[in-house]
């Protein structure tokens, strides 16, 4: 009997999986992710593996971790200050989230924008990270087969987060170095037409402000332009502002919320949605804390229901609620974090400059947008860029992100992260780059 069953098993095809399971729309085949794998196999460590690969492809903020630790250490006894007892907290799974935590997030978001706008806690929907927030919003704003317009270059993860399970398409709004990659009206119209010619219904525009990978804030005039455009086309505008607290100078960031307020929220508000998270500004990506802030009541209600699939642990909400409502802490944290990021940024820019490398003039984020196009064999070739990327990964042992993974049309640009390591490691990385550039120059 055993043999017969074995034969049957062999003949029977394995049970089928879904198309989603077997497709590669997860977008994880790009060099962006391949580089991480190489890093994982040979990660740099100051003592145990000094010749390993330095990770400069992960936008993580480790420069202000000590400030958080210090706060939590000093305020140990105020955990549970939200009023709910420990046991109620364990059971609490209401998708509205803890009121105290939502208020804390609203207060923190306001603080980051210099209190130039106020956020209503009842418009905040909590999600386990901004990744989930972006996907959730896409499910709500667009049908499968529709399109979102996204300015290039953009965060490679969007290919997965916005498209994979939702079936929604991304149509790029092409930006280039001629005007520092700013979005123009012409580019918007062009992208819209592109989508239409592909038979896609455009449902909205998704911007990242400050931009990843560019590391710059979007100018007010461009935000006004975007608002006018989406209003004219009657589509949505999603503003992913997860780096808003990582702007080096507080006066340089304008949130779409501020533009809406200056228009008295007339006409356009119901189409605007903001995504925020604590993963970048607060350096707590492990905590999985994201939010959707929407001016559209129906979006808030629907998003809340859908957030059942991505709730934030009540323990985490409780833990962070008092910290984020503590105005003296948040004020001080935001200020110091900005200063430290600025210092890091200056350090990497100087270092790259002395190696003969120019970068886009940035003012925000955890990375810089580096221009290596002068090094390319063929300046218009994506393959050339990938060859250079591979060389940097394998010979220089630095994992940086090639612009082509970010859908940048101009080859030769690279995103280089600087906040996920110690100053020492950054110095070593810069030294490696300097030596590499010297080698190249001596070869030419």
């Amino acid at each position: 009997m055993g043999l017969k069953i074995e034969q049957q098993q062999h003949q029977q095809t394995c049970v089928e999986l879904s198309k989603i399971a077997i497709s590669n729309t997860h977008g994880e085949d790009s060099p962006y992710f391949a580089g991480w794998k190489v890093y994982d196999e040979n990660p740099y460590d100051e003592f145990t593996n000094p010749s390993g690969v330095i990770q400069m492809g992960l936008a993580e903020n480790q420069v202000s971790f000590d400030l958080l630790e210090k706060y939590l250490e000093e305020h140990r006894e105020t955990k549970g200050a939200s009023g709910t007892s420990f046991k109620e907290n364990a059971l609490f799974q209401d998708y509205h989230g803890l009121k105290s935590f939502r208020s804390a997030m609203a207060s923190f978001m306001g603080e980051i924008r210099g209190n130039r706008v106020k956020f209503d806690p009842d418009r905040i929907v909590l999600t386990a990270g901004a990744t989930a927030a972006n996907e959730l919003l896409t499910f709500i704003l667009a049908n499968s087969g529709d399109a979102l317009l996204v300015p290039t270059p953009y965060y490679p993860g969007f290919d997965r987060d916005l498209r994979w399970r939702t079936g929604v398409n991304i149509v790029p709004i092409h930006c280039d170095s001629s005007n520092n990659f700013q979005i123009t009206e012409q580019a918007l119209e062009s992208a819209y037409k592109d989508a239409e010619s592909m038979g896609y219904r455009v449902r909205g525009i998704l911007i990242t402000n400050p931009s990843n990978p560019l590391g710059i804030t979007i100018q007010r005039s461009v935000l006004e332009l975007l608002l006018d455009f989406v209003t004219k086309k009657n589509i949505h505008l999603v503003s992913d502002e997860i780096y808003s607290g990582s702007v080096f100078s507080s006066s340089e960031f304008v949130s779409v919320a501020e533009v809406l307020e200056s228009r008295n929220y007339k006409n356009s508000a119901e189409r605007v949605h903001i995504v925020y998270s604590l993963s970048k500004d607060l350096g707590l990506p492990g905590f999985r804390v994201g939010t959707i802030y929407s001016y559209n009541d129906k979006v808030v209600t629907t998003a809340r229901r859908m957030s059942s699939f991505t709730l934030i642990s009540s323990q985490t909400q409780n833990l962070l609620a008092s910290m984020l409502s503590n105005k003296s802490f948040t004020k001080s944290y935001i200020k110091i974090n900005r200063e430290r990021l600025n210092k890091r940024y200056q350090m990497i820019i100087e270092g790259l400059k002395s190696a003969g490398i120019e970068c886009l003039k940035g003012n925000a984020g955890l990375f810089c947008w580096m221009n290596l196009s002068p090094l390319l064999e063929n300046k218009t070739s994506r393959e050339s860029e990938l060859e250079l990327w591979n060389a940097i990964l394998r010979e220089v042992k630095l994992n940086i992100s090639p612009g082509s993974s970010c859908h940048c049309l101009e080859p030769g640009w690279f995103r280089v992260c600087f906040a996920n390591m110690s100053e020492n490691t950054l110095k070593i990385a810069l030294e490696r780059i300097r030596k590499f550039m010297e080698r190249i120059r001596s070869q030419q």
């Binding site: 879904s18 958080l68 250490e73 364990a90 049908n143 086309k233 707590l284 492990g286 999985r288």
Partner: protein, 526 residues
């Protein structure tokens, strides 16, 4: 729907006048026809005239559009024939009049008015509290377990802040593996081994951790079936499955009806029938979804039945998903058998790549707020995909650390289980007894947190309508929220799910008294 390719066929100014003109025509007409032809003509003729008048106006509007106005085109509406009075004039943008559109999915979700959710909402807006709101609604519609929450609270107070060192965030602030940290997987593997009777070994490499069992079910649905496919599911079933499987994955749930005559146990004949009927309709069945112990009935699958299900899945080459979230919440004399146990004992003969288990800590450990769920699968491809998908639903790092610590406290876990089991047994016994004394019988159950009560004698008519009327009576007269069987897709009207794990022993009389109020009202009116 926004159509910006062609300017829309509407000019603001004509709308208000046309409707009033139309009405002016109708009224005198009605007077004319009332004399002859009676009501039929009296209504038919003015309607016809009105219709033709609107058609005429519409044609006129279209020709007006050849000279576009200075305002941008208004968004198209699905009802272009009906005249509308604009609520605002001279808008610089018309977007606000019909509003920017949301997806079809969003509309489905916002229109979802299942009694299950409506009840939860109403109860949460007027919650019962012994002292501050004694006339509030008692929540018996949420399968939470507060019977042993005091033990959890004690543990958290002692160790929840990390003991003397405080809760350190060192090592957990940064990005962690999205499918859960190894320490937690190990702790869960141990825990599940205990919960499922101590006879199964759970391999951590077959685990994907998610923020609760809810996303675990959704992620599995995304992995195993395409939009438009279906799973077979025995009824009555947990109302949340409709959300978890249908909303975003777009997988349909085909009910396999179970009957009170069988104590709502699944019949293989019914399963076969449901499968062939689906096939005939051209629906591709990709799997069977069962919960064991069952929600809402509380009965358990026997070993035989599990073998039958596995054979069925093998025969049709489909998947079998077993939701075992209540595995540790049993109070009866029957022993719980996990499908994993069968796979372990018969691994050579069964293709385990089609069997998937859902687990979580929301029920057995009352940690619903912490969001800890598990997908356990032997299928490498499913695991690979699930690992990528769980980035949308990962467990918060400090919670992973806290829960690992709790699960590793073996003595605490042991105490909790023993105490909890005793308390559940007691409350279940008392409550079911008290219910039967007022004439309400429950289905036989040995697990889960609820009774499946037969109130069919109280409903009139014997239909879903009658059942929902009774549900409303419970809500407004008795001020308790219980779940009507129709929300669980039960084919027999009159059954209700009543959760008993949020009641203490001395609250039982209060609840029974309230239920009695409704019983009296129903008896009186019948």
């Amino acid at each position: 729907m926004t159509r910006t390719r062609e300017p829309e066929s509407k000019s603001k100014t004509s709308s208000p006048s046309s409707s009033s003109t139309g009405m002016k025509l109708i009224v005198p007409l009605q007077g004319v026809v009332q004399g002859r032809g009676g009501i039929l003509l009296g209504s038919l003729i003015p309607c016809a005239l009105f219709y033709f008048f609107q058609l005429y106006l519409k044609k006129r509007r279209r020709s007006n559009d050849k000279h576009p106005s200075s305002n941008p085109p208004s968004p198209s509406s699905s009802f272009p024939e009906l005249p509308r009075t604009p609520s605002r004039s001279n808008l610089s943008s018309r977007g606000s009049l019909t509003g920017v559109r949301l997806s079809r999915l969003a509309t489905t979700i916002s229109d979802d008015d299942s009694a299950y959710y409506v009840g939860l909402n109403r109860a949460s807006r007027d919650p019962y509290h012994k002292l501050t709101n004694p006339d509030g609604i008692i929540q018996l519609g949420l399968s939470d377990n507060t019977l042993s929450l005091d033990l959890i609270g004690d543990w958290m107070r002692k160790w929840g802040s990390g003991g003397d060192d405080g809760l350190s965030i060192n090592g957990i602030a940064t990005y962690q593996a999205f499918d859960g940290v190894d320490e937690l997987k190990l702790a869960l593997s141990d825990f599940m081994h205990q919960v499922m009777g101590g006879s199964v070994h759970f391999d951590t490499s077959n685990m994907v951790l998610t923020a609760g069992a809810t996303p675990a079910i959704e992620i599995l649905s995304f992995c195993l079936a395409d939009h438009g496919n279906a799973f077979l599911v025995p009824t009555p079933y947990y109302p949340g499955f409709d959300r978890d499987v249908k909303w975003r994955p777009g997988v349909d749930l085909i009910p396999v009806h179970c009957r009170s005559a069988d104590n709502f146990n699944l019949s293989m004949t019914a399963l076969e029938q449901a499968y062939s009927q689906a096939r005939k309709r051209g629906v591709k069945v990709r799997g069977i979804l069962v919960s064991n112990p069952s929600n809402p009935v509380g009965n358990m699958l026997t070993q035989d039945m599990l073998y039958n299900l596995i054979d069925f899945a093998e025969d049709k080459n489909i998947h079998l998903i077993v939701d075992e979230v209540f595995a540790g919440s049993t109070y009866g004399s029957e022993k719980f058998v996990s499908v994993a146990e069968i796979l372990e004992s018969d691994s050579e003969y069964i293709d385990n790549r089609r069997i998937h288990i859902i687990y979580g800590l929301s029920k057995d450990l009352a940690l619903a707020g912490f969001r800890v769920g598990v997908i356990y699968s032997f299928n490498k491809n499913v695991l690979a995909t699930a690992r990528k998908l769980c980035r949308f639903s990962s467990i918060s790092a400090p919670t992973q650390r806290l829960v690992t610590s709790m699960l590793s406290d073996k003595k605490f876990i042991q105490d909790y289980f023993e105490t909890n089991r005793n308390r559940m047994r007691q409350v279940h016994h008392e409550f079911v007894d008290a219910l039967s004394k007022i004439g309400i019988k429950c289905a036989k159950s040995s697990g889960g947190m609820f009774c499946w009560a037969d109130m069919s004698g109280l409903i009139k008519p014997y239909s879903e309508k009658g059942e929902l009327e009774l549900w409303e009576k419970f809500m407004s007269i008795a001020k308790i929220n219980i779940t009507p069987g129709s929300a669980c897709h039960c084919i027999e009207p009159g059954w209700f799910r009543i959760c008993f794990t949020t009641m203490s022993l001395d609250e039982i009389p209060l609840v029974i008294e309230r239920i009695r109020r409704v019983v009296e009202v129903c008896k009186f009116s019948s």
